[in-house]
Structures are given as C-alpha cells and as structure tokens.
Symmetry: C2
C-alpha cells in the first residue's frame, strides 16, 4: 500500500494506472502532472488524479511511488526534471514500450538513485489516446515486463512486482535487450507493417474505393494503424536497430511466399501458410507457445 | 423466393448461406453435396441441408438456385461436374475471393449457359472453417460484390441482388479485374503479411518466448494468419499478379519508413504514420472513405 502516487503524464496509460491503483486500494492520493495543463485539469475533474501539480518535479515531491507515463522520447528529460527529488525509498517506474533507451537514460540521469527505478512495460494499450479513454481495467489480466538492471534495488523490484500483481497483471522479468528484440517482433514491426499497408493503399489512384471494400480481416489487421503518430514515431526510432533486424527476417519470409506464388509452387506455399496457421491457431495471449 | 437450393460445398461459407436462406424464408429445400461424405452427413444432421446429394451434379438437379461454396481452385472442376444440368432459368453463384479466374472458368466451361452465372464475393468469413462453425448471421450486414460480365443475364443479376439483400447484405457491382486488384490490397496482401510475420517469428531461436509476449495488437494483427492453408494457397495463387503488384506498393512504403527510422528522420516518419493513422481512425467497415 502506497501513500502517494506521483503521476507524470495523465493520458491513457497514466490515467488508467491511477484509476486502477485507487480502485485496488493500493494508493491513498494521486498527484498528477501533464505537459498540457488542460490534460492535468481534465484528469482532476474526472477524478483520475486528486491534486494537480504545476511541474513534474512537484508531482514527485512527497510521493512514495512515481510513474512516468510519457512518450519514450520524453523519458530522459523527465528524469532530469525530477532527479533532485528522487530518493532511495521512492519506487520509480515507467510504462515505455522500449527498455534499452529508457534504462540508458536512467543510468545517465539518475546516477546514484538509478536503483530506485524499476523499468516496466505493461503490455496493454488502445489505439486511442488521452485521459478521456482512461480505463481502470486497461491493465487487468495483462502481462507486465520488468527489465531490472544490476543496480536495481531488490526491495523496489519486489514492490514493483507486488504492485502490478495487485492490479491483476502477470509479471515477468527479462533483460532490456531481450525485451526490445522480442517487442520489435510482436509489436513494433506489426505497427510498421500496418502503417505501411495503409500508406500504400491511400496513395493509389482509387485508394478510397479500395479502402471501402475492407472487411473484418482488414479491420483487425489495420486496427493498430490508427495508433498515435508521435508515440509510434518515438518507439520506432528508439528501437530502430531491433526493428530493422526483425524487418529483415520478415522480408525473407514474405519474399519467399511471393516467389512461390509467382512460380505457382502451391505445395511449398501451402507448407509455409500451414506452419503459420497452425501456430497462430494454438496461440493464446499471455501464454507461452508450445 | 426459391424452391430448391443446390449447395455444393457444405463448409463454413456454404453452410452459413443455407442457414441464412432458410431463416429468411428465401428457400424451401436445400440439397447439399460436399466432397467429403462425412461433411455432407454432418450438414444434414445439423439441419443445415435437408437432403444429401451423392454428387455435385445431383445437387444441381431440380434446383432453381445453385451456390458453389468450394475453394476457388475447385471452381472449374465443379463447373465441369454440373454443366449438363445448368439451365437458362437457374441462378448459379459462387462465393470465391477472386473473380477473374472464376469468370474465366465459367466462360470456358458453361459456354452458352454462362449467362446463368452471377459471380459473387460476400465479404465475410472467419479464421475457422467447417460446417460446425456455420452461422446464419455470417453474412448479416456484410458487403457482397457481384462481378457480372457482358453475358450475364440481367434477370439473374437482379435475382442475385435481391437474394443477398434479403440476407441483410449490402450489394455492389464491379468488374472482375477491379475486384481482384482491390482485394489483393485489402485482403490477400494482409493475409500474406500476417502469414509471413508468424513464419519469421516461429523460425527465430527464441520464437516461442517471443510469441508469448504478443499483446492485444499482435492478437488482432495476426488473427487472419490462422486462416485455412489450402484456401489461402488457392487465393494467393489465383490472384498472384495483383498480389505481387500490391506487395510492391506496400514494400515501397515499408522501406521508406524503415529508412526514415534508420536515418533518425523523425519528422518524415511521423508524417507517414500520421497519414496512415488519420485515415484508419476515420475508416468504418463498409463505408466509402472520405
């Protein structure tokens, strides 16, 4: 149980976290700050936060748990803004989709207090953003990846684990690099592919007519293409090395399949499809593949 | 109102059609045939069809409306099997995802009776197949594309339009080639991409661990990768020319985005994402894009 949550970034992810923490009885008071004062005000009016802080630093003041729910590109500047009030007893976490860059920024900026920081990536989200879409159930039943480093205080790591479990999440730990490679494959590349597919269609002469024909498969496949542009620009940039690696692997598979189609090699083509189809048919979110 | 539906292929698409036709009171009797006798039997036991036919030809005998709900690659052989009993008064339709090849097969095989054939593509489906998943609501509210040719009898075209509208579908007409190009973009290429993504992940050393981390975005993006391998082998082969064209367009967009990420060109990258995101945010299934 925490006394005070310092929330930096009162959007979808941060707002949902504050609501979930309160509902679970895990925190008494939420002090929130957003870059845009109107967002902070709206969060208070909605009851997502209790007190508006005029700066990130003041949101941290007096908190025993701090959540950075800002775009990954803003992580370093946020650390800089709060570093003077981060203490050894304070649990600091983020919710960023990339972890290598976040960990590097924490080392550089927090220095002696980097042990207070437990890098976290809750695998949850929506294709809409903003505090008005905040939802106390956003994290319920979802996975959270913690990527501690050698300097992470074990006590804080334990607190972080308990906290997310208290919100109904399943928690696992892995190294930041392992995390980034895996999420390039299951999240960042799929976003890039969905954006690229939409982009390619839009710019065709009869793009509007074509789009009008999309059915349920197209709907699901492209849902993530509606995601927030700035957020995804930052993620793709932050994880570009792993993204490019995963794109190469993907392209080999794609070119193979296209070649088989062109050559009329139905047997080989079916084999590749069958492999993908079988694995996807048995896949269940949050369960290790067999 | 029809007297007798001759259903060739009692799987998901055909079975759902028979159930919907009966529920809507559009047909009195359904005579069904499937390649696999156990499927035909199961369809009768489930009440999806009334009578089991021992051959495609006998399923057509006495029917005033015939639906071919077979894999696109089996269309030509099915036409050959039934040609002797196709009459000028009989409405014959298919449900294939590609239309150029189906129309060509109809011309070649049905010849003088090609006018009875109204090529149809209901934009509906599930990632599962088989009569046990047949659902009278599969077509409700969905779009159906009819791709008549010059020889298509206007009376049959009208009957086909009325029939699908009677099942709660929105019907539009277009040329077979226009259809195939559009569906390469919104359906066939997305399937290929989803298969290729899965394939690329599976073959990585820690593929199973990576797959275990997929969240809601991955779930939706890859749903279509669980689709039936034989059916999709046939579709990708049948529409390979348009598929390759659309893949080229997609690849240009993808390579552009990857290059911008690699170069750290956040401004341009955001611009491309924003364009895709804006269009997808306003997209609604079955509505022409603005």
């Amino acid at each position: 149980m925490f006394e005070q949550l310092g929330l930096i970034g009162c959007g979808l992810m941060g707002g949902s976290f504050a609501m979930a923490m309160k509902r679970a009885g895990l925190v008494k008071r939420v002090v929130g700050y957003s870059k845009s004062p109107s967002t902070t005000e709206r969060a208070r009016q909605m009851g997502v936060i209790d007190v508006e802080a005029p700066s990130a630093l003041l949101a941290v003041s007096g908190a025993d748990v701090v959540l950075l729910a800002v775009p990954v590109a803003a992580t370093e500047s946020t650390f800089k803004a709060i570093r003077h009030l981060v203490t050894a007893n304070m649990l600091v976490m983020d919710v960023g989709s990339t972890k290598r860059d976040v960990v590097d920024a924490a080392r550089r900026v927090l220095r002696d207090h980097v042990g207070s920081f437990v890098p976290a990536h809750p695998i949850a989200g929506k294709e809409v953003s903003g505090v008005e879409h905040a939802d106390p159930d956003l994290y319920t039943g979802q996975q959270v990846i913690l990527t501690p480093i050698d300097k992470t205080q074990p006590g804080h790591l334990k607190k972080a684990q308990d906290l997310w479990e208290g919100l109904g999440c399943r928690v696992q730990q892995m190294a930041p690099d392992t995390h980034d490679a895996a999420f390039a494959a299951v999240s960042h590349l799929p976003h890039l592919l969905a954006f690229a597919l939409m982009h390619g269609i839009i710019h065709q002469q009869n793009g509007k007519e074509i789009l009008g024909l999309g059915g349920p498969g197209f709907k699901d496949f492209t849902r993530i293409a509606a995601s927030d542009p700035k957020m995804w620009r930052d993620i793709l940039l932050a994880n570009r090395l792993e993204l490019v690696e995963q794109a190469k692997i993907f392209q080999r598979s794609m070119m193979n399949m296209l070649q088989m189609a062109e050559e009329g090699n139905g047997e080989k083509l079916e084999e590749m499809i069958a492999e993908a189809s079988l694995v996807r048919s048995h896949w269940r979110m949050g369960q290790k593949a067999k």
